[in-house]
């Protein structure tokens, strides 16, 4: 009887260890995380407006009826990426996340320069090169350093009424997520 109890205690200790192992290992193995879902939409470096209902199981969607969302999977392995959007809506916000869905940077129209979105995402090395010889067209841009080479950007805008729907859609369609040639990348 005592040995059965001993086996149960050993089993519970093992269960605790396995529990911790699973919880720590899950983020690397789900294949269901936000980055994978966004990357499965199509090409990198392109904003995809999200539908109100998931197109298929696991696809990202915009669940809030008053928000319109576009997402862009980006890779800065070779060149920096520039995110831009016009100043045409009453509210927009940008969230930049790395591959593990950790927030790298976030802002909204109030914290931007002149109300328009203009952000350059670069690795520390690329950023050094940009700062050394800042191109004129990037002089107004917000420079963001991302240690991870892959990540995703989420652009949200507020569409409180049906009449603002068109403007929100046009805003997201005009938003850009493109690699830039700084001329300084070796």
């Amino acid at each position: 009887m005592r040995s059965v109890l001993f086996a149960a205690v050993v089993g519970l200790l093992g269960a605790a260890a396995l529990h911790i192992l699973i919880v720590l290992a899950v983020p690397g193995f789900t294949g269901n995380d936000a980055y994978t879902r966004i990357a499965s939409l199509g090409d990198v470096q392109r904003f995809y407006p999200l539908p109100a209902a998931p197109a298929r199981s696991g696809a990202p969607f915009s669940d809030d009826p008053a928000l319109r969302i576009a997402v862009c999977a980006l890779s800065i392995a070779e060149r920096p990426v520039r995110l831009y959007a016009p100043d045409t809506v009453p509210f927009w916000s940008l969230g930049l996340f790395d591959r593990a869905s950790n927030e790298v940077f976030s802002m909204n129209d109030r914290t931007s320069v002149g109300g328009a979105l203009d952000v350059v995402v670069a690795t520390p090395v690329q950023l050094n090169a940009i700062r050394k010889a800042l191109p004129a067209e990037l002089s107004q841009s917000i420079l963001v350093e991302m240690a991870d080479q892959d990540g995703y950007a989420v652009l949200r805008t507020f569409a409180p009424t049906a009449t603002m729907e068109e403007g929100a859609r046009a805003f997201l369609a005009d938003a850009g997520c493109e690699t830039i040639d700084t001329g300084a990348t070796e």
């Binding site: 040995s3 059965v4 001993f6 086996a7 149960a8 050993v10 089993g11 519970l12 093992g14 269960a15 605790a16 260890a17 396995l18 529990h19 192992l21 699973i22 919880v23 720590l24 899950v26 983020p27 789900t30 269901n32 995380d33 936000a34 994978t36 879902r37 109100a52 209902a53 998931p54 696991g58 990202p60 969607f61 669940d63 809030d64 009826p65 008053a66 928000l67 969302i69 997402v71 509210f91 916000s93 940008l94 969230g95 930049l96 996340f97 593990a100 869905s101 950790n102 927030e103 940077f105 976030s106 802002m107 909204n108 109030r110 914290t111 989420v154 949200r156 507020f158 409180p160 009424t161």
Partner: protein, 254 residues
């Protein structure tokens, strides 16, 4: 009845506890029949041998059984508890304001391992700290689970934010099955306010006058209140803020 070592041989097929009992019983039977036979024939000197044999066999099966028991508990409990934890909790570090719960750090690198595992399984697009803060409520202010069978009033002011939006989802966070003409969401621009700037929002499956948020009849639901561009997200003084109360007004009998 011949005292062979047969009863213990059946042991490995049962569950660990049962098998242990079977081993004990087997030994008992062996010893018992030993005595009977010894008394009847008077040749007791030959009889103890099978009992010793069955004891040894019992010991032989005991160790693997105990190892199997330990492994079963390890993999069973370890896996089930991990799956349960990731389904049931979003992680630590939540802010609860009445029935409303938010996770201001769930999207950051500082999130705990449970929050990171949950968001990796869930794949939701979380709000960055400069974007907004999402509050969820599954219960009313009296702790009763929100259900489409009942009607609720959301009363009171929201914390400071440039905009807020309110909508309902299923308890798993999926869209409610609603006709597209029904008001599935309200926001700070469309809500009707009283003279004191307060708004009362009626949440019900059937139409209400004033601010009406439609939910699916007879289904449990979750309310999601998103504050856009709010100082709440970055502030540690969030505990002092008040969120609107969710008051149950009526319930149709089941």
């Amino acid at each position: 009845m011949v005292p062979t070592g047969r009863p213990p041989a059946a042991a490995p097929t049962g569950t660990p506890e049962l098998s242990a009992a079977a081993i004990e019983m087997g030994i008992d039977f062996g010893a018992e029949s030993c005595k009977v036979l010894a008394g009847a024939s008077g040749r007791g000197s030959l009889r103890p041998a099978p009992a010793v044999k069955s004891n040894r066999k019992a010991a032989l099966f005991r160790i693997p059984l105990l190892v199997a028991l330990a492994l079963a508990i390890t993999f069973g409990c370890g896996t089930l508890s991990a799956v349960w934890a990731l389904k049931a909790t979003i992680g630590f570090g939540s802010i609860a304001l009445g029935p409303w719960v938010a996770f201001p750090n769930a999207q950051t690198d500082r999130a705990d391992p449970y929050a990171k595992a949950h968001r990796a399984r869930d794949g939701a697009l979380l709000f960055g700290s400069a974007e907004g803060l999402m509050f969820r409520a599954s219960h009313d202010s009296n702790g009763r689970t929100l259900s489409g069978r009942c009607a609720y009033d959301i009363v009171g002011l929201t914390p400071p934010a440039r905009f807020w939006t309110l909508h309902a989802t299923t308890p798993e966070g999926r869209p409610l099955p609603l006709a597209s003409v029904l008001p599935a969401g309200l926001n700070s621009w469309t809500v009707l306010r009283g003279a004191d700037n307060n708004a009362t929002i009626h949440v019900a499956a059937s139409a209400r006058p004033g601010n009406w948020l439609a939910v699916a009849p007879d289904q449990p639901f979750r309310l999601v209140l998103t504050l856009l561009d709010t100082p709440t997200a970055g502030s540690s003084g969030v505990i002092d803020l008040t969120m609107p109360a969710i008051v149950q007004t009526e319930c149709s009998d089941a």
